[in-house]
């Protein structure tokens, strides 16, 4: 699952420099980590909603934590994805 989300990040953000295996599960995705910014957050939220039916919201209690790392993001998606 983590690799699947890593692939989603790389594909939806056109990160030509990065391969999914390169994303450290615990490293920050934004700023000093992968260097993502607010445009990427929105693009990623759209991709996550298409792939998993999970809507990301600003007022989610742990919004900063959701995008904190690949592992945190994967955990959030798993906890909220529509049961199918």
């Amino acid at each position: 699952m983590e690799q699947e989300v890593a692939r989603l990040i790389v594909d939806s953000l056109n990160l030509e420099e990065v391969s999914p295996e390169d994303i450290e599960p615990e490293a920050p995705l934004f700023r000093e980590g992968l260097g993502l910014d607010s445009i990427d957050a929105l693009e990623l939220a759209l991709a996550i909603s298409r792939a998993y039916g999970v809507q990301i919201r600003s007022d989610d209690e742990n919004n900063r934590q959701i995008f904190a790392s690949l592992r945190a993001l994967t955990a959030h998606i798993e906890a909220h994805r529509s049961t199918s």
Partner: protein, 445 residues
Amino acid sequence: MRDSNTPALLADHSTPLAWVAGRGVSRAAFLADVRALGQRIPAGGAHFNLCENRYRFTVAFAAILLRGGTNILPPNRARQTLSEIAERHPGAHALVDEPDLPIRMPVIPVTEDGTRPARDSAIPAIPADQLAIHAYTSGSTGHPTAHSRRWDSLHIVTQQALQRFGLDADGGTLVGTVPAQHMYGLESTVLYALLGPCTLLADRPFFPDDIRRALVDHAPANLVTTPFHLDACLRAGLAWPRAARVLSATAPLERERAQSAETLFGTTVREIYGCTEAGAIASRETARESLWTVYDGIRLTTLDSDQVAVQGPQHPMPVPLPDRIELEDAQHFRMCGRLADQLNIAGKRASLTELNRRLNAIPGVRDGVFIPPDPERTGGTARLAAIVVAPERSEAEILTALAETTDPLFLPRPLIRVDTLPRSATGKVPRQVLLDLLDQHSQCA
């Protein structure tokens, strides 16, 4: 009758000024917050208004005015940008509602949330010629540039816009996705409420589902947004409530996208033309109109340089516009593109010359150029790339140094290091040569 030389700080309406955490904050309760915060701000001078929460921004904005001061609105929060601006305003304090200020300066925390009891007190007046804002752009001359606006000029443009969009008649909630520090955000998500009958939303919805929920909670609301966010809403696959109006600015909106947005939100989409230098000056109904119609009282003239300048009752002097404009008549114009040096990424503007200057000012960078994105490119948001000669610096070091002065949206992706840039005799590098270098690089990666 109020003296026109002292326009009111606040329009007297029965509608709430703001929604804060679902509660309506009356104009009297807002005024109580403004007076209380004002007691903590030094009189006069200019102060940074960095509040993220739109209600707190508006309380800070009004409190600074009430104390005879000017709001400093920076173009971004990069450390060096803030410190360069701060150097020009000795004694400036920063009004903040988040703790992470990247530079050291005296701070005034803003915690007002509209819960103070309203007292029956008269609405204060502010001198017409008091400078209300110094709106900074990142500039093209090496330093941030201030565009200062008098209090009466903000009054005038707000009345022009309220009338143009019919907001003076029915007001409604402003669901804004743009920051209040941006000129468009200030005018359309703060001043329409402060100086008109609208009600602002303290939160800044960002993700499509945030926007949808705000529009549901306050239906029918006015969505004040950008092509970037409209595009996200169109792609989100959500069920949307009807909006009262949709306003868009910061970057050109394509006609097809305006038409789709009209279907999605069941209302007219109006695009606003403006810039930090002159504020908002014109609008169009993009789904049906390609010509822009200026606000009442605005005139356009062509300068000797062929550049077009705007002048209205809010502009003491004609203001040159940063775009290529073709005049149809004195009230209508066509926008034919930006001046060559101007870049626009997701609605934020920057000067290519200035970005190149900053890149080459980084110690260890011997040569470097930014490459603007292909205008024909489709899908996703286009990014800048950069090619740099810097044998002793890593990509990460260069990016960190750039981030000191530059909004994150303009950081290059990719940043490529090469041994030398193939400059021509005139010192230029042809765009095709740069694109070839980029191509080679992506094949190697």
